[in-house]
C-alpha cells in the first residue's frame, strides 16, 4: 500500500468517526429540544411546581440553579485564580509542586457522585451545614476548583515571555507585572474556561443530591432578607436545582404532566448550557480581538 492510499484511508476513517460523533450529539440535542421546547413558556419558567396537579413550573429550581452557580463562582474564582497564579508564577519547580499538580488533576476527575457523598459526610454532617445551597456550592467547588486552577495556570503560561520581561525590566514587581500585564493578556483564556466551568456546574446533579438537597422550602419571592428561612436569597436553606428536579420528577413525579415537565426542564437546561458555551467562545474571541486589535 502506498503512503498516499494509507493517508487517504486514514483521513476517511477519521472523518467518518468525527461525522458519527457529531451526528450522535446533534441527534441527542435535537431530541431533547424537540421533546421539550414546546412545553417552555413564561408561566413554566416562573411558577412553582405542583405535586399532584397539572401545570406546575420550574421557577424556584431555575432560581436555585442560578443562585447556586453564583455562590459557587464566588468561592471558586478567587481561590482558583490565587492558586493558579501561585502554581504558574511562584511555585518552585520541584517534586512538591508537581505533586500538587497531580492531586489537582486527580481531584478534577473524581466522579461527581463521590464528591456528593463526601459532601454529605463532611460538609453536611461533620461541619453541620445541613442540606443547603452553601453545602452544594462547597461540593461543586471541589471539582470546579481544579479546573479553575488549571485554566489560570494555562492562561498565564501562555503569556509571551517578552511581555513579562518588558514589565519586569521597567522595575515593576512580580505582583504588579502579573496583575497589570499578564492577567489582562491571559484574560480571554481564563474567562472562556471559567464560563465553560460554569456550564458544568449548572448541569450538575449527582454532587448536589446529598448536599444542596432534593427539596426547597416554600420560597417567598417577596422576602429578600437573606437570613429568613423562606427567603430565596438565604444561602443556608436547602435547594433543589433544575438538574436535580429533572432527576426527581423522572423517578418519582406524581403530577400527570410529569413527563412533559421533565422534557421542558431538560430543554431549558440544555439551552442554558449551550448559551454558556457560545457565550464563552464569543467572549473569548471578542476579547482576543480587542487585545490584539489592529485598528
Amino acid at each position: 500500500m502506498s503512503a498516499k492510499t494509507a493517508d487517504k484511508i486514514a483521513t476517511a476513517v477519521i472523518v467518518g468517526v468525527a461525522a458519527f460523533i457529531v451526528l450522535v450529539l446533534a441527534g441527542l440535542l435535537g431530541f431533547i429540544l424537540y421533546r421539550g421546547v414546546g412545553h417552555i413558556s413564561f408561566h413554566f419558567l416562573t411558577s412553582a411546581p405542583e405535586t399532584i396537579r397539572k401545570g406546575g413550573g420550574i421557577g424556584p429550581q431555575l432560581f436555585n440553579s442560578v443562585f447556586l452557580l453564583v455562590l459557587t463562582m464566588i468561592i471558586t474564582i478567587p481561590i482558583g485564580l490565587g492558586a493558579g497564579i501561585y502554581m504558574s508564577e511562584y511555585a518552585p519547580a520541584n517534586k512538591i509542586t508537581s505533586g500538587i499538580r497531580l492531586i489537582v488533576e486527580v481531584l478534577s476527575s473524581v466522579p461527581s457522585i463521590v464528591v456528593g457523598l463526601f459532601g454529605l459526610l463532611v460538609i453536611v454532617n461533620l461541619f453541620g451545614f445541613g442540606f443547603s445551597l452553601f453545602s452544594g456550592a462547597l461540593a461543586l467547588t471541589v471539582f470546579n476548583l481544579p479546573l479553575m486552577v488549571r485554566i489560570t495556570e494555562q492562561g498565564l503560561k501562555g503569556v509571551p515571555r517578552e511581555q513579562k520581561e518588558a514589565s519586569l525590566a521597567l522595575g515593576l514587581s512580580k505582583w504588579k507585572t502579573i496583575t497589570s500585564v499578564m492577567l489582562p493578556i491571559a484574560m480571554p483564556v481564563i474567562l472562556t474556561g471559567t464560563i465553560l466551568a460554569a456550564g458544568r456546574v449548572f448541569g450538575e446533579a449527582a454532587a448536589l443530591l446529598f448536599t444542596a438537597g432534593m427539596s426547597s422550602p416554600r420560597l417567598d419571592f417577596t422576602n429578600w432578607n437573606p437570613l429568613s428561612p423562606f427567603s430565596p436569597l438565604n444561602p443556608f436553606r436547602p435547594a433543589e436545582t433544575l438538574a436535580v428536579h429533572i432527576w426527581k420528577i423522572n423517578s418519582e413525579g406524581l403530577a400527570p404532566d410529569a413527563a412533559q415537565i421533565a422534557a421542558g426542564a431538560s430543554a431549558v437546561l440544555v439551552i442554558t448550557v449551550l448559551v454558556f458555551n457560545f457565550a464563552a467562545r464569543w467572549l473569548g474571541r471578542y476579547m482576543y480581538r480587542k487585545f490584539t486589535a489592529i485598528k
Binding site: 517578552e162 511581555q163 518588558a166 514587581s173
Partner: protein
C-alpha cells in the same frame, strides 16, 4: 571619559555551564558601548547582568562584582526594582503591551505611583519625543500599539523604557528584526540619546557597531577578548582573534 559600570572578575554559571569567564570591563558614561562577537559568546548574558534579568533563570550563579556608579548591584542592600528603574532595556523583538500607545508609555510611571493626569501626559510626550516618535503618533495616542509598524513599535519600546527615567539603556540586538530604514532611525536615535544616557548595545552587525558606538567590546566563548575605542578596535586590533573576527574570517 568616566566609567559608569565597572565589572570586576565576573563569572557567571548557568548550572554547570560557565557562560562568562573572568570578565573585566569598564563602560563609559554617556556614550555608546557596543558588544560584538559570534552567537552564543555571552553578550546577552553580560547585558542582562546589568539589570539582573538573569536572576529569574533558576540555577544561575554569579561570582565577582558588577558596580554601577560605585554600588555593587549584586549586594544584599540593592533593591532589584530600583535598579531596573535606573537600567532600562530594549529587546530584540519589539514587544509593546497589548494596550494603547499612550498606555504603553504611561505604564511604568503609572505603576510606580504617578497618577496625576497632567504629569502623565507630560511624561508620555517627552518620552515619545525623546524616542523620535511623537510626530508620527501624536494624533492617535489612543490606538493600539500594534497598529504601528515594527520600527515604530521598537521606538515605542524605547519611549516606554525612557518614561521611568533610567540612566542606562540596554539594547539587545534592538534592530535585528527591523528593516534598513527603521534600523537607521534607531541608530540616529541612539546617537541623540547618548548625550543623556549611557547606552550598551549588543549587535551582530559590525558596521552598526562601527557607525554608532564609541567603545566596542569583542567577546569570544564567554571571555572579553578585547575592548577599546571603536575606531581603534576596528582599525588596529591588538588581538589576532579580534582581527580574524572583524575581517570576517569566522563567526
Amino acid at each position: 571619559m568616566n566609567s559608569l559600570i565597572e565589572i570586576n572578575d565576573l563569572d557567571l554559571f548557568y548550572g554547570d555551564f560557565h557562560a562568562l569567564k573572568h570578565v573585566n570591563l569598564e563602560i563609559p558614561e554617556k556614550a555608546i558601548t557596543a558588544f560584538i562577537g559570534p552567537s552564543g559568546c555571552g553578550k546577552s548574558t553580560l547585558l542582562r547582568t546589568f539589570n539582573r534579568m538573569n536572576d529569574m533563570i533558576a540555577g544561575t550563579r554569579i561570582e565577582g562584582k558588577v558596580e554601577i556608579a560605585g554600588t555593587d548591584i549584586y549586594s544584599k542592600e540593592v533593591d532589584v526594582e530600583t535598579l531596573r528603574k535606573r537600567v532600562g532595556m530594549v529587546f530584540q523583538q519589539p514587544n509593546p503591551f497589548p494596550k494603547s500607545i499612550y498606555d504603553n508609555v504611561a505604564y511604568g510611571p503609572r505603576l510606580h505611583g504617578i497618577s496625576d493626569r497632567k504629569k502623565l501626559d507630560e511624561i508620555v510626550e517627552t518620552s515619545l519625543r525623546s524616542a523620535a516618535l511623537w510626530n508620527e503618533v501624536k494624533d492617535h495616542l489612543k490606538r493600539s500599539a500594534y497598529s504601528i509598524s515594527g520600527g515604530q513599535q521598537q521606538r515605542l519600546c524605547i519611549a516606554r523604557a525612557l518614561a521611568v527615567e533610567p540612566d542606562i539603556l540596554l539594547m539587545d540586538e534592538a534592530t535585528s528584526a527591523l528593516d534598513p530604514i527603521s534600523t537607521l532611525k534607531i541608530e540616529e536615535l541612539a546617537q541623540e540619546l547618548k548625550d543623556r544616557y549611557t547606552i550598551v548595545m549588543v549587535t551582530h552587525n559590525m558596521h552598526q557597531a562601527a557607525r554608532v558606538s564609541q567603545q566596542t567590546v569583542f567577546f569570544l566563548n564567554g571571555e572579553v577578548v578585547e575592548y577599546s575605542e571603536t575606531e581603534q578596535l576596528f582599525s588596529n586590533p591588538t588581538d589576532q582573534r579580534t582581527e580574524d573576527y572583524i575581517s570576517g574570517r569566522f563567526g
